[in-house]
Symmetry: none
Subunit: 192 residues, 4 copies
DNA sequence: TATGAATGAGCGTTCATTCAT
DNA sequence: TATGAATGAACGCTCATTCAT
């Protein structure tokens, strides 16, 4: 693993640990086992690491999705699995996610956010197009735009679920069920 | 207007202009026309004001919605209007909104986020229940849960739209149209 | 009790409680049950109360001494009793004592310290003069100067004893015994 | 000289000039010729430097004493010299001394005070033991305890003397004379 | 006298960034 | 490349004091 990756990994770890607290560069370098100055050989400023972190988060998410979702399954199954993976991912990384988002907010990097999500949009867009072709969903939709809507809906729902520490799993399951109905309707998913 | 409200108003203004990191307490008090120490009579720390700001943002949003949406209109019309108002609101306040969210992230206050949204959820939940009763939407939904999903979907979509400064209105209109289809389908809105 | 006295009493209480921590004017007024501004009707500044506190401390000490020491007793007995009372007093008030001393240090009031001790010096000077007259101690001493030395010696010894929280009473007793020998020798106290 | 020592030296100088309340960390670092942040690499807070200062003060005192006192001299002479050196030292450093003591009072460090004095107690304890062996003082004393009493007595006496700016040297000489008598008696110093 | 909200100068501390090695 | 001690600008917060009521 390159030193740069090591720094990014360490940063993610520290964000997860320190959670809500503000993370210092000195924490990151300590976790990465490098000297304070070394950080600046790879990133020009404290916030400059944020896009790299966001990239990794999306990479992890997309990798998980590819692993857990079988694109030969019926679309409805794939959709259910997508919800599961995204809930799982949100649960594990939601602190980091919101911190990174916050970090990007205070810089010129915010613009990159959508760009970073692009591979994810792309993947889901392809899946939707397949489903359209296979007539497993309604026909007249724009696959890419709908992919963005779908991702936004699932992600926000997951965030609402895990916003409270109180992981009342039963409550979460209810919400997940409602979500599945909501998006299946939205896409006009065929059942049989 | 109470002094506390004056501080909150001033904070919103300054956050809109400068962002969260770049905003000093001294900027807020200057804008509010009060002394530095006075701020701390009302809020124990710089970040402690965030929930109060979020409250105001939601108040404004809900007030706008009440003003612009006629609950006697067909549900479909109300939904269209809701999208318009929320897009408008996101456009105007999206900086503050994400800053406040970021600010809450770095504190123990994040938990309050959902609580603050409660009045909005409540309102839309009532509207949905009416629509269910009037058979303008599909029957088997849970109104409150669906309200949360709906709000999350519209809000995220609006955020995606205004994430870039480049306000390509045509592009935005396309996305808005796709969104309307998406949510109408999701709710099973009746057309006639 | 006058309001001024109430403030002084409250200040002593707060000093005892907060001990080592810096005490704020707001703590004092809260304890005294008065408004912040009222304090300044009686003392022109935060530190201005220090001499008044010192006065009270000495008053208490001298009152205790008068109560516990019988000036008709043999001088040696009086001396033993004096040691007891001063140790007791130091134990109870040593935090306040050092804080007041510190408080006076940072002002022009430090000069008053000796002045405040004057009644105590006076009292012990008289006792010593009696002892000289009664030939219970060596003859050639200057009563007033020796009183000051004696008080300083006993007080410092007591402070050394209670500097540590660890109140090893056995150790303290040993030191007290050594002290008694030391001062009896110093004064040439007659035994029989 | 190490950077830490440089900071301590500078702090002593500044405290002598300005007092503890009026001394800002920025004054200390300016005098030390270092950056503000550097101070905090060596001391975690403003007050945390106090024990280090106290250490230095005692070091200086003990060094002076070793230089000025000939341990081959008769004990009585050594005692006279000790009084001289301690008066001298108190005169020069009394502001810093009481400030440091006050500073320690407001922290958890107060406990260290006796610990810091330890080398001084040790030295005088040895001297006393020698005197006992040579039968220059009374025989039955505990050397270490008596050393503490002796130091306390002389120090307090010197502080009483220099508490007033008005250095009436004649008055001070009188008191010093009375002090010498007092402690010689206390120790049973032999004259011939 | 008494109040207590308001003041605002002032200070301790932090932490991103630099640079000599 | 790598180090980590040093930097110093920047800022949150405190708290003694004031003053309108």
């Amino acid at each position: 693993m390159s030193k740069k990756d090591k720094i990014v990994q360490a940063a993610i770890e520290v964000f997860k640990e320190k959670g809500i607290e503000r993370t210092k560069v000195s924490d990151i370098v300590k976790a990465a086992g490098i000297a304070q100055g070394t950080y600046y050989l790879y990133f020009p400023s404290k916030l400059a690491i944020m896009p790299a972190i966001a990239d990794v988060l999306i990479e992890i998410l997309v990798a998980d999705i590819r692993k857990q979702i079988n694109t030969d399954d019926p679309f409805k199954t794939q959709l259910d699995d997508l919800v599961e993976v995204m809930y799982q991912h949100t649960k594990e990384y939601r602190d980091v996610h919101s911190l990174v988002y916050a970090g990007l907010s205070s810089t010129e990097y915010l613009q990159q956010w959508e760009e970073i999500y692009e591979p994810f949009y792309e993947w889901l867009g392809d899946v939707l197009e397949n489903a359209i072709r296979r007539e497993e969903v309604r026909q007249e939709m724009n696959a890419k735009r709908t992919a963005k809507l779908l991702i936004g809906t699932i992600e926000t729902s997951a965030e609402q679920a895990y916003l409270y520490d109180q992981t009342d799993e039963k409550e979460i399951d209810e919400q997940k069920k409602e979500l599945r109905t909501f998006i299946n309707q939205a896409l006009g998913t065929k059942n049989d």
